[in-house]
Assembly symmetry: C2
Homo-oligomer: 554 residues x 2
């Protein structure tokens, strides 16, 4: 069997100017990064087309650690739509570099449903992550510089802004900086997050244009002065230089799928502590240039899609015409109690028990009043009986389920799915309604999501979370949406509760403020913002030969 | 008076493909980064042309804090050579992003002698610094990961490899990482350097090709095991992935001057703890494509040019045909005792006293057996009497001195200089001889440079330096060249000794090992590897407007 990188290397990649001209982009307007990557200027966004064209959101049931193939389905579905004559782009997140050297490998799809050039996209791509990192760390340097020169009366003990690095480096999680005497800063506790967890990443992905970008950056909350006044990035006059660093990063990147259909890949906010989807700008760019745009929201529907609807769509005015919910037989068996290492074995009993997870996600889609299609991502070990059972249980609810083999067959393996999705999109008259009104108070917003989407019985707040609520209210930021941080492994906040948990209490441990991005982050459970490398990191196998060819990436 | 950025914005920039085709580069071979930047593939290096064509090294007298305009002279001289019909490229270092937000502003020349597009070059450019940073920090993460998993028996107390960030951030100089309990690493002292100070930067700039790059990276010394065996990057199997991260960064960047002549800008190692010049690959690329290549070596001749000859030329087989020594009347007055804030006032007495600094640098050029020309970088406040005096004292030694106004007039202001430089290059039959043989022991190499170039009477070693010498000998690395770290403000190791100091003792405080780059770094005096921001950083004035236009950069 060929590896992903072998398939990618054998693909007939087209010059990106050709892909651009299929979309109606003048080659002079493309900002090329080599022959196969380009940035598209923002003036190609056309609000009328955005209103008219069709957005399709791909999400998933509660995933197993291996993931259910959302990205691969998204790419395959967009390829499939082009197969059946529908003009389609796929709009995705950029992979984070850190995990590439750890366990995960890349995030550019797989098999016959990939985006190209995969090495570039998985490594530095067009430098967006590096620019975000620099903008983030410039603010950190300016904060500690203001503390050093005592220019803004900042109390360093209240500074919450950390630094970021796109690397799996656990040793940076918690550190003390500013050691070495009076010329080298004031010692204080801080640490590093991975770049995808940066608030700058979240901001870039919600910004509509340069003006909005700069304003959001200016709104970042830094900490307090010694006399307890809030300090924002704009008080440090940092926002102009930070936005200047993002001048190119704000523009979406155009690449192509294995089948030479257009792919926009832009932004990659964490899906647990931020909105977890590609940029508003990239989504709107795709919708300005293609009739059918396929995009995805990180993790399960309860996490990524809820935020997609309640934060991204509410903020930007986007409104998807359909949700494609990705399910796999193996994940449903896991949710029915099968061991993770045995999910490839037939097990109807486990499947029947686990189907409740799919059902809850379908109910959630309906709660947002959006039309749905279930995509069953086919694996070689699935039995016909299993696939039929999933289809039947889905169709019992009036929702179509279609088996797709995007990994093995690319767009061809997604033709049936594409046909069904197009039919739903073209006929659907639903208009999504958000779960809550931003103007509600924070606890009411949290409760609404936790009860309606997660299925919680009640919400508990620690004393720290209560203090955070008070602080947010004092700052007058009670009207921000809630970007709830929760495990993706369960519908609940307890990763061990598989299937469709009931009667559980969600505990909000603390509530972070991302006032630049424009949301608050109620944190339930443990959140990892800086991963570590495994004992034998995959970096050990990555190499480049004497001609500059990279191997071992996958 | 127009600012540099105004002049740059008004320039008629040509598509980089046009600049490339003037050099004989097929536009299909250029890896474009937008319309005005491109990477050139390594197969355009032609060893025969490198042997035949002419390399001109621009260096300077001991500089004042404002710098003597080496980069501006280099650009202007290359423009001037093209004016007089000589086919010329300029090959420069990439600016470091950190200082752009501090005091310094950019490093892309000035006035009518600049390289374009200046905002890009001064900000992220083509991502080389970001790639170097990632490669460096990947090794750091893999070291701490090996400590965490105890896979290589590394004693964390012996690990000298820090992390890097291209930011002026004093608070990162000294830190403790690995706090937070057993899942987050072993606590240890470490810190961050600015990216230009990374050994990876030095390696990239000495590497001949991918193979050499990977080998040098593998040779990086990390520290010791608990049983005192040396550990290198190759023991961590980090070198393949690190080289893969540098796959694009190794290729030189082609841009243009204000007068649309070719400029290669590539690499930017610190001039105090590393070789301080652009990459061997870029220099060879320039020489493969142009008859006359102008390049520069950081700081004064004693620092940058000495390393250029003894390390870069010895390592790569390059051999400059002439050195252009940049001098200014104001710097010579400073060396004669004038106050820094009064060097713009006429002061023949100070000039006469300070000329000794120029003379020593000219003697040093002759000690390398290279032909020289003095370029007097003209400032509006210079008097004719001052300029004439500098010329006369230079010509007393049989060396021509030419006044150039590259800031005000660009290539036109350097025509006389270019004519003289071309004449010297075309006639010069000297062949440079290095100051020392790499096979000598370390103290003999240090002594030779310190006595012959700096003018020291003797060398003193601290006990720490003696221990370092012993360690280097034990590791069998005694045959590496010496990259002496010293203040640029004086020929001696004491920044206060201006002019031509005599009878001084150079103190070697410690000797660092850069076994990947392939040199040892004897350190004299204090070395700053991570700058800080000033009280009012220039970042506060940088901005980007609603259309993405950057202002306040300069």
């Amino acid at each position: 069997m060929k590896s992903d990188i072998q398939i990618a290397n054998e693909a007939k990649i087209q010059p990106i100017t050709d892909i651009g001209s299929k979309l109606g982009i003048d080659s002079k307007d493309l900002e090329l990064y080599g022959n196969y990557k380009a940035k598209v200027p923002l003036n190609y966004i056309d609000p009328e087309k955005v209103k008219k064209n069709n957005l399709i959101l791909v999400s998933a049931i509660s995933p197993t650690p291996a993931g259910e193939g959302k990205t691969t389905i998204s790419i395959g579905l967009s390829q499939g739509l082009n197969h059946i004559g529908a003009d389609s782009s796929v709009v995705l997140r950029e992979p984070s570099l850190g995990p590439v050297f750890g366990i995960k490998g890349g995030a550019t799809g797989g098999g016959m449903s990939q985006v190209l050039p995969m090495e570039d996209i998985n490594l530095h791509f067009t430098g967006d992550f590096a620019a975000i990192e620099k903008a983030h760390n410039l603010l950190a340097a300016m904060i500690d510089n203001a503390v050093q020169h005592r220019t803004l009366n900042i109390d360093p003990r209240t500074v919450l802004w950390k630094r970021v690095m796109d690397m799996n480096d656990r040793s940076l999680r918690n550190s003390i900086v500013g050691l070495g005497g009076r010329t080298s800063g004031f010692p204080r506790e801080t640490g590093f997050d991975i770049t995808a967890a940066s608030e700058i990443m979240a901001i870039l992905c919600l910004a509509e244009d340069f003006k909005d970008l700069k304003e959001r950056i200016g709104n970042i909350f830094i900490g307090y002065t010694f006399d307890k006044k809030p300090v924002y990035a704009r008080d440090l006059k940092a926002h102009g230089a930070m936005a200047a660093l993002l001048r190119d990063a704000i523009k979406p990147n155009l690449v192509q799928t294995l089948e030479n259909t257009p792919a926009f890949i832009h932004g990659g906010p964490f899906a647990n502590i931020a909105q977890g989807t590609n940029s508003v700008i990239a989504t709107k760019m795709g919708m300005s240039l293609s009739d059918y745009v396929v995009t995805e929201a990180g993790f399960g529907f309860d996490l990524g899609a809820e935020k997609f609807f309640d934060i991204k769509c509410q903020s930007s005015g986007l409104s998807p015409k359909a949700v494609v919910l990705v399910a796999t037989a193996r994940a449903l068996k896991y949710h029915g109690g099968a061991d993770l290492d045995k999910v490839n074995e037939p097990n109807m009993e486990a499947l029947k028990a686990g189907i409740s997870n799919l059902e809850k996600h379908l109910e959630n889609i309906q709660a947002f009043n959006v039309c749905a299609v279930v995509a069953i991502n086919k694996f070689a070990t699935d039995t016909d009986e299993e696939l039929e059972y999933i289809k039947k249980r889905t169709e019992d609810r009036g929702i179509k389920a279609v088996v797709a083999d995007v990994w093995g067959q690319g767009g061809k393996g997604a033709e049936d799915l594409a046909t069904e999705v197009k039919a739903v999109v073209d006929q659907c008259e639903n208009k999504f309604k958000p779960m809550y009104d931003w103007e509600w108070d924070i606890p009411k917003k949290i409760e609404t999501v936790a009860k309606n989407i997660y299925g919680a019985a009640a919400i508990d707040y620690t004393s720290r979370a209560k203090a955070d609520l008070k602080k947010i209210k004092e700052l007058g930021l009670d009207n921000l949406p809630v970007c709830i941080a929760k495990t993706q492994k369960s519908l609940s906040d307890n990763p061990k509760l598989i299937g469709r948990p009931k009667d559980f209490v969600v505990t909000v441990r603390e509530i972070e403020l991302s006032s630049g991005a424009g949301f608050v982050v109620p944190i339930t459970g443990k959140i990892m913002r800086m991963p570590g490398l495994p004992k034998a990191p995959s970096a050990e196998k990555i190499d480049v030969d004497d001609d500059g060819n990279i191997s071992g990436l996958f």
